[in-house]
């Protein structure tokens, strides 16, 4: 099979980083670790941070950084190939050593809580990636922590690294019964001031949060990060009316409002496309909003005059935007 070197993607914006693939490693069936080195120094990052990998014009996937975070000489990500996805993970799986890639600088949306008395870290499948980064920091700063890593047999990406760092603070489970028989006593007995962090499929995050709530955990101590691809941007079609020009932009069922706007040539600044960074915020002049972001405060949602078009949609058939 011949390999075509990916041309360096265009559209390098001000803060983007141009990096080179340093190593590619198959961790287990369908999961690859890719490391990047930079011509310039790579920024340090907060444990749990992600980068966006630009794999085509206007499209990027977010992946958690798994390596050391202090003035790192490389960035490492682990990518599970998702053949049902938009193509980003397949693109990354085709990368070879020496290929050039454009990435966004690290962003933090899943940081350890400094005042936690104990950290319970829960990883589901490839959701192990930010958890490994949390563990590195917990070991470095002598934090009290424990890890539950739930994965299918054989799909044990990064388990060795975790084992080396955690020792007996790591529990690996392979099925739902084991998972709950291990987690339930933790939810019932953890010292007050413990924080809970879950990264995995949406169903797992919801179930853990529900169990924690039932066990009396305050919401402020329960944190989660969904797989990047799990953010649902689709829904019923609607239209966006642009107030300044009167133009009506149709938004199909499978595209986000942001994508529809960009497609139409409306320049909306954007970064994460997951409703996390806040960059694409637009002012809304009319129409109800189906907020799906993780960025706006409850108060701001209640005001109803702003939305994040990368993930949020109209609740009715139209929104009017200050664009």
């Amino acid at each position: 099979m011949t390999h075509t070197v990916n041309a360096p993607p265009t559209g390098l914006t001000g803060t983007d980083l141009l990096v080179t693939v340093g190593t590619v490693r198959e961790l287990c069936d369908g999961i690859r670790e890719v490391t990047f080195t930079g011509a310039q120094a790579l920024p340090s990052f907060t444990p749990g941070s992600h980068i966006g990998v630009r794999w085509g014009t206007g499209v990027q996937n977010s992946y958690s950084l798994t390596g050391p975070c202090t003035d790192p000489d490389h960035y490492a990500i682990c990518v599970r190939r998702d053949d049902a996805g938009r193509g980003g993970s397949a693109w990354i799986h085709a990368l070879r050593v020496g290929d050039q890639v454009v990435i966004t600088p690290p962003r933090s949306a899943f940081a350890p809580i400094s005042v936690a008395r104990h950290h319970v870290l829960i990883a589901g499948g490839i959701g192990v990636t930010p958890i490994l980064s949390h563990v590195r920091a917990a070991v470095q700063w002598h934090r009290s922590f424990e890890v539950i890593y739930s994965h299918r047999p054989g799909q044990d990406a990064l388990a060795d690294e975790l084992q080396n760092l955690c020792g007996d603070r790591l529990t690996i489970v392979h099925d739902v019964d084991d998972f709950w028989s291990h987690l339930t006593p933790i939810l019932e007995d953890s010292v007050l001031g413990t924080h809970l962090y879950t990264c995995g499929p949406a169903m797992m995050i919801d179930a853990v949060a529900a169990a924690a709530t039932a066990a009396g955990w305050p919401a402020q101590r329960v944190h989660s990060e969904q797989f990047s691809s799990a953010v649902a941007t689709g829904g019923a079609p609607f239209a966006a009316r642009l107030r300044r020009t009167g133009v009506l932009v149709p938004v199909g069922a499978d595209v986000s409002l942001l994508e529809a706007l960009l497609e139409r040539g409306v320049a909306v600044p954007n970064l994460c496309r997951q409703g996390v960074c806040g960059e694409c915020r637009v002012t809304v002049r009319g129409g109800r909003i189906d907020h799906r972001d993780f960025y706006l405060t409850d108060d701001e949602r209640a005001e109803g005059d702003t939305m994040m078009p990368c993930v949020s949609r109209a609740a009715g058939d139209q929104v009017e935007l200050e664009l």
Binding site: P43, W141, Q220, G278
Partner: protein, 336 residues
């Protein structure tokens, strides 16, 4: 003052004159960092951390204050990683800005170890990031003995910012020891007008959303008698009377005794701890130096004359602005 400062033409050319208009009110006056701000006689702001001719004198003053009152340096236990993060960030900043005097070199990959050299102070220190026993003192105190800026570190949790660590020796009429551990909104509780105009909450939201490597700056100002850097609440018994002696003393002395004090404040999101580093750099210029620039003298006069009573009270200039205005009218190039 403890160590007499000599103010030169350079101090005028580099002075961050804080008034863009004839009227001053509180606002969330933030702008991205690193851009040169031009004034009628010079410029400021090309670097976030600035070393100037007062470097050794101001560091000696900080060291003296810390020896007398160690509570000016505080780090709540959960802020230790943020303190290391701040130190490393400041070292990078200094090495980038002053390569002829400062270098930071990685000597071991893991655990991350560095060699730091500061030729201005004859420092050559090898340390391991996060290892307390590899530095002569805690990381925040260590780096603050090599920069003229005061530092406050804000932790982010529960959707709020908390002032949980810092080294503040040059506070203008406030007390870091009183504020440490408070939330951003608690710290700003006493400021008049800030809350009714929702400036504090907007600034708070803005800081919470700062991204790694993003940084913004703003200026603040007040008037200080005799150019004292330390006018903190703790030493009020020592400097409080200066405002009265200025007001009751001869008008001729005001030009040399009364200083416009500008704080250049930077907000920098720290990369590893997710804390926000707040830098406060104090610049002082006597009215006599300001009077050499007619545009500045005139602007300062209008601002002081217009400032509402509640703001003047909070800034602690109720006694001194009258003499300042009178001196500018009498000895400065100001036509009321």
């Amino acid at each position: 003052m403890t160590a007499a400062a000599v103010f030169t033409q350079n101090d005028i050319e580099n002075f961050p004159f804080p008034f863009p208009k004839d009227q001053y009110r509180y606002s969330a006056n933030v702008e991205p960092t690193g851009q040169k701000a031009s004034t009628v006689v010079g410029s400021w702001g090309e670097q976030r951390v600035v070393i100037d001719a007062h470097y050794r004198r101001e560091l000696a003053e900080r060291s003296r204050i810390l020896a007398v009152d160690p509570t000016r340096s505080q780090c709540l236990p959960h802020m230790v990683p943020a303190a290391w993060d701040a130190m490393l960030t400041l070292m990078h900043e200094l090495a980038d800005g002053y390569p002829q005097h400062m270098t930071l070199e990685r000597v071991i990959a893991e655990p991350a170890s560095y060699r730091w050299r500061n030729a201005l102070l004859d420092i050559d220190q090898t340390f391991t990031f996060g290892a307390a026993d590899t530095l002569p003192t805690d990381p925040l105190t260590y780096i603050c003995s090599q920069i003229q800026e005061d530092v406050v570190l804000l932790d982010q949790r529960d959707d709020q910012m908390w002032g949980d660590a810092g080294v503040v020796t040059f506070a203008a009429d406030w007390s870091f020891g009183f504020d440490v551990g408070m939330s951003f909104l608690q710290i700003h509780g006493p400021v008049p007008r800030l809350h009714s105009e929702k400036i504090a909450t907007r600034a708070h939201e803005f800081i919470k959303r700062l991204q790694p490597a993003q940084s913004y700056r703003r200026t603040n100002w007040t008037l200080t008698v005799d150019g004292k850097l330390d006018t903190s609440t703790e030493t009020y018994p020592e400097w409080g009377k200066d405002r009265r002696t200025l007001a009751e003393g001869p008008l001729e002395d005001v030009g040399d005794r009364l200083f416009l004090r500008t704080e250049v404040q930077h907000l920098i999101r720290l990369p590893q701890s997710n804390a926000v580093m707040f830098l406060i750099r104090t610049y002082l210029l006597p009215f006599r130096a300001i009077a050499t620039i007619p545009e500045w003298a005139d602007r300062l006069y209008r601002v002081l004359e217009d400032l509402p009573v509640d703001m003047a009270d909070y800034k602690g200039i109720t006694r001194t602005r009258g003499p300042g205005l009178q001196w500018l009218r009498t000895h400065g190039p100001v036509v009321p």
